[in-house]
Symmetry: D2
Subunit: 510 residues, 4 copies
């Protein structure tokens, strides 16, 4: 089901680009960033921003930000004003509406003694309050409530800039990373460099792509094709539309320096001994676009495996398997294939519904979800349906869908959910309904099938989800381990399942 | 593939609503029409309009029109101004942009000696030029280029209104129908009545729904539930979201009078002896939403049969069947099922791309379609793909898709098109690229597979399409014929295939 | 006082332009019309429109209309689309707000058998209702409530266009003029001709200007400078900004044909025997810009004479004379000069107040007019003021001004109004408050000074106004009469004073 | 002449309001601030902002800012969101356009350890660069280029907030004042207090008003009427429209604390021994609204005296005196009165011209100023005109006006300028054209009359201006001195004439 329905949402996407060669580059950097952000639009749809640097002096950063979808914020005219040099970073995010909230839009720019720096950030600092207080105790006023400003001021503030020497940005970034363990994937731009940083737990995604000449994209010549520049993005799904090849992930704790010449690892900040990495498992389940690659695997494949696993865990005697379009389709196909039932469409979406600004009166409000879906009744009249959804968070949208299907002739409706129930809040960058709103914490959860009007309902187990996610990672790792033994111990792979289990990757009172 | 890609587009959707009982009705008429139009948004996305009547006097029609999507045009405030009485009609359409084109927006309203009338129209009068000339020869100036104004003035003009008696609107509508055989599905509102009219050939769709109390929608009580009002719509897919039940189609040539009390057939204007009906076959193939019902069958089912038929006509040795999302999916599932190959997704859509206002430079333009789609490469690496599309009109979008798939590892890409090639212009309400732009009329068509870079490409045959469409209609008809014999002769079922075959349902120089 | 205060407003301004020579002309026609309309903006501020003709075929009229001020409606981009040929006409008007009212925007365009015609109109047809009924009885539907559409359809409709010969537009215009005596100054465009017409009573203004090469505007060379084109406008004040010279007025009843070559009188439709002309006297008092020329005299001069006359009719012992800025200033200066008192400013305007969209609460509403004015108290503390206003219509704005002046130290405040009280509605193009709202019809009028809080208040007499207006016209006429005797008898000069006296120039049930 | 013409412009206006009594107050604070800002709109027209405080906690400041005029930025809906308590401050300013510049809009808000503070500021810190550098050296990043942020961070930063005790804001403000001598009039809001501060030189204006119950505004009861609250504003002209009485000026160097209970002077920071005050003399000449009061005198009166002085310094034999409307009118009336010539209007303004977005072509560009003015030729044909302007800065607008007058029949045109030529840049808050653009620094200045086409041109002398400004201040002072002797030595009155003389009130390398 779509994000708005569920009420859980990713907060941000970040994207950076540096063109190779000298300026003016053949590559149209603001344009590439815009398209890159369009490719990350599912991660945040309420505002966008791009900052470009003039490279050498860091004195003339160009900034454009606005409320709304990327296509709306960036017009041809706005983009023209951003053409200054070979590099820039961008951001797309959620935020409460209202123009004054424009102030919270990223990237955040401040002028320091050594020129301007810009920061774009995905995640949420687990100890933001303490860090804000610390800065304010030193007399720094904070003009917004965003972590992005906080990070920027922290980078500028400590250690003090006692003289006019160029600051050691890597030391400052490491200093920041020592002050806050998670969660952040961030881009920092200064002069002609973009620093790409992922927190030691790797909680939010970040990966690097190589821009190659478009003509050379086809066939085997790829490897040898000329590098036109580098991009760095929350998700690899944004690469195809700009002619970039997937290069690699930024590793947990890694500080990468991207210049017009190359991509260098400057340092890798380790986690405390014994702590596994903690990539957000809900990126697989829900947030990421299915064509993105995390940890060497395609998100779509994980979702299909979740469906297969669900078929193993919770089979049902039925006539057909279907999906709540569109996000649950991979799991539904996996389920159908595993249990040998036909995959059939029972709902179609009206893609023009969008956000409705009209307050419906009581009669129309009762119709609710019917506005979004059409019913393909001929496909299921008199049949028993297994309907796969990717998540049931608040439980208030699946119920009218079941009602619709029954009224249109479904004989039975069995719900299978391709992820476990969400029970706990996230403090690391995901907006989740309050604990009280979560269906899994309500008394009705004990007889959920009755509550939502289904013949049966089963969620995927946490173990099932984790194994669907880790299966192929482990297979690959074991493969590699047979070659190089000791690294694997350091890089203990784990995933953050805090919202499902309440086990957070770090102490909350950090 | 989506409409914009193909370059063929429906021109309009019409929707009307009358609340039962006295005013103020419980039913929120302008709101219902708005939601109804949102359900028809796929038939026209560039402007919308609603006219409501105050019922008795027909002096205070309220009108709101605007450019853009329905959700954009109708705000809460705009709707408030439309609350005057129990009835109204609305329209959604394509049009060239520019605010002055607002004048061409429907419904069209004129004041006559007997009060105001409003007309909303889907279709295109095959002899519009002659009719315009005729009116102008009598000294009537026409202020727009729309058929809607033309129809309105024709209804007002002949026969002359010599005195102040209430005019015989049915006679006037019949008079209009005698002057122009096709194509039109139209709604005309006067005082407290909506007249719903379909041309004798039934070229454009029109159907009636019954608004029932929402509480009573569930279960078996439906049949007995109270009628809250009547709606009339281009497609039945708009009924679910407003709590309406499908009632019946308006028949070819039928003039239906809808009042707050009931629905009455006033007359049925016959076709010339021997002429079959000529419902546009592309409504099935392409325009209509899959959950709409035409001629007793769901559009989705026809599309799936087209896929099945295509599997029979053009099988191919391959590893998987897939779709160009989302419109070709029913055909792809039908094809996959018929030939026993697995159905697998190979592309995912970026639903935020929308209309891009930014002019891409050369490098980015080359990437083209990649902006719209993500590639699910893990699903098909090293595999032979049968890719189903619903239509290939100009041939310029399928080609980059094939390239994307190959570059991402597809071993073979076979294209199967679930409709025949379009070769001829439509004069009955569909905007089709010029004859020169149609790929079927180009020299490259003779080796289309090579031109688009596919391993093979086959279109569905005209016969195959027609049989997919008519199969179940005929079955049902034969069923009925065994009961009542003579009606079937009159109602000879046919479909307009003019764009495929050049055989138009009426003489073009009518 | 400004228009909004008084609640009476002009309805429209019209402007046309034809460039000499062949196309593409050096002269930028749409641009000239836009600037011309800006110069007429005081006559209507709620919408604007321009139509340009491609000249020969009259098939490709270009139209742009919009709500708001001319500068807002016509952007660079919109103007570009209007470049088609040497000629066009434009319009600025009042209208109730709301986008659907865009339909009432002028110029109005219809297609006739002989190509398109466009009509722009200032005035109000005194028998519009009967004419509408007449057209509708013949079956012509009217799509708007504007007189402009009515005129256009009347021009197209009678006599019938029985064959395809080019119609005799002059005969049609004369036919129209015989059907309706007043009030209209109108422009009609067909192919490459603009017809400029003023009703036989000359109720609304219309004058012609000659565009000359800008370089040649200086000094004595003027007369011989090259004619670059012709313009026709409601007021001559619009000429300076476009480099046009005042040429002459269109006479009452005159039909002028303007082509790229010259300006020709085609006919002059006479008034009934004995009827004087009836130019609206409130154009002098209030609507027109002070630098416009009517009947050979500058509006400013008339207003100053009204002030002088008022000093004669209603002198007062006081210390200073002042004005309600800005429209009453000419009268105030005239009054001050005549009675020998110093002219002193007592109020200054806040020109940023504009239309306020914020609903003030009670406390702020009480402050009312104080938002618009600042008080120059040092200029009048302890002094006796004669405050000149141009008109007191509803009496609700002068009262708080007097209160302000008193509170700021004025010893006495005497109001002198440079026009007579308005008592009757206008049916000829001016929007006047209802009879009940007019202060002159209220009981309070009998002790107006007390009601508005003034020490005394006197209006100019009707005779005083008429003589201020006609004095120099008559002087000039007598001058001419000594030369050519008989014309003067035909051209009996009068002015419409209906709103002051109730004596309408024509029977109201025409 | 208007500001845009001259190219010199004020940068800002500030306005604050506190309602007496407890919350919810009868007084509508956001509304009062909005109207107050409308009254200061002439000081800045490109953006506006209001911040309201919830009073006690200082945690929920509400902020609304936007580009454009105040009436445009603040809608009913926006104001509603600002209703939180008894107090707020607002700002209106110039800025380069572009939405990203929204960041520079004031008031500026930061969160400190002790809650939020908001700052609104008029002026320009003469040593802003050094102060920025100082802060940045300590590691504070600055996110905008505005002095407002700089002031805010300086207030928060020093001395360091070592513990959580409430900071001594007065000490911090004094600390700031010791770091920067001029120029600033600023409002700082924290919790339920507004601090109003004027720099020791008093370079920018600031004054206090008392809100009284509207009913009690009339007559003698005023003094005793109930205080409804306090306002503080750049100019007193904003008081009338909100029902406030002028209370007093904030003195140079004074720190005033305004609470819901009263207005207290907390301290007065002195100037260096011997330095006179330095109120900007151009506030009198040009920026301020004529009804504002500075240093005990009305701006209008000073302007009239300038005209009188000019008549003494530069008489001319002529027939009439006139003005370039509207700003030069007080001086023109003063000149006319002094030299005994009649005051006559020769130009009228088209108030709808506004900012034109259409690029005129060459022909229309030549017409230039004619778009803005109409010519009242009947008033001056064959006459010798003395035309008073308030300032000639670049010399490019007066020239076409002279040309217009000559072409319309003026016999002679003598220009008299009611202020001295501007020759030097301002570093204290006024935007002046570059030195090269100033006509006074060009070679043509030596024969200015010829350059602009006048018969003669004379500027007012610096001494003449200073004496026109100081005359009545000195008279009043001497009056007071006879009573209390020693204060006058401390409060040595002077005015900043730097732009005319190059003598700046403080060293520029402060």
């Amino acid at each position: 089901m779509e994000f708005e329905e569920l009420g859980i949402r990713e907060e941000c996407g970040v994207f950076g680009c540096i063109a190779s060669g000298s300026w003016p580059a053949e590559l149209d950097v603001p344009h590439v960033i815009t398209l890159g952000l369009v490719g990350l639009q599912h991660r945040g749809q309420e505002s966008g921003g791009i900052v470009t640097s003039d490279g050498d002096s860091a004195q003339t950063f160009k900034v454009h930000k606005g409320m709304g979808l990327i296509n709306h914020v960036f017009s041809e005219d706005n983009l023209k004003k951003l053409y200054v040099s070979n590099l820039g970073i961008g951001h797309t995010r959620y935020s409460t509406s209202g123009i004054s909230e424009l102030e919270n839009c990223q990237p955040f720019v401040v002028e320091t003694l050594h020129g301007k720096i810009a920061v774009a950030h995905n995640g949420e600092l687990i100890n933001a309050k303490q860090l804000r207080r610390k800065l304010m105790r030193h007399g720094v006023g904070l003009s917004t409530s965003s972590d992005s400003e906080l990070i920027t001021q922290l980078l500028a503030f400590t250690p003090p800039l006692e003289n006019d020497d160029t600051p050691d940005w890597v030391a400052r970034i490491k200093n920041l990373m020592n002050e806050t363990p998670t969660s952040y994937s961030l881009l920092m731009m200064h002069k002609d460099i973009i620093y790409a940083v992922r927190d030691p737990y790797g909680n939010r995604p970040l990966c690097i792509g190589r821009l190659i000449s478009v003509g050379s994209m086809s066939g085997k010549g790829k490897k040898n094709s000329e590098t036109e520049g580098w991009v760095v993005s929350s998700e690899s799904c944004s690469f195809l539309s700009i002619g970039a090849q997937y290069y690699r992930e930024v590793l947990p704790g890694e500080i990468v320096k991207i210049s017009r010449y190359d991509v260098q690892t400057l340092d890798v900040v380790p986690r405390p001994e014994g702590d596994p990495s903690a990539f957000c498992i809900f990126e697989y389940v829900y947030f990421a676009r299915p064509d993105s690659i995390f940890e060497g695997q395609m998100v779509y494949s994980v979702r299909r495996r979740c469906g297969q696993q669900l078929a193993v865990e919770a089979p049902v005697e039925a006539d057909l398997v279907s999906t709540v379009p569109e996000s649950a389709t991979p799991a539904a196909l996996g389920y159908a294939q595993k249990c040998g039932l036909p995959y059939v469409e029972v709902l179609c979406k009206n893609r023009y519904v969008g956000r409705t600004f009209i307050q419906p009166n009581m009669r129309l409000r009762q119709l609710g979800v019917a506005k979004k879906f059409g019913v393909l009744s001929d496909n299921f009249k008199g049949k028993r349906i297994v309907l796969i959804d990717d998540s049931i968070v608040r439980g208030n949208t699946i119920s009218p869908i079941i009602k619709l299907l029954r009224e249109s002739g479904a004989k039975e409706v069995h719900i299978r959910v391709a992820s476990p129930p969400i029970k706990f809040p996230c403090y690391m960058g995901i907006n989740i309904p309050t604990k009280e709103e979560l269906i899994a914490n309500k008394p009705e959860f004990h007889d959920l099938a009755k509550y939502i009007g289904a013949d049966s309902v089963v969620y995927l187990s946490v173990e099932g989800l984790v194994s669907s996610v880790q299966e192929s990672i482990k297979a690959r790792q074991e493969n590699q381990n047979s070659l190089k033994t000791n690294k694997s111990r350091v890089r203990k792979i784990g995933h953050c399942t805090a919202c499902l289990t309440g086990e957070y990757p770090v102490e909350l009172d950090w």
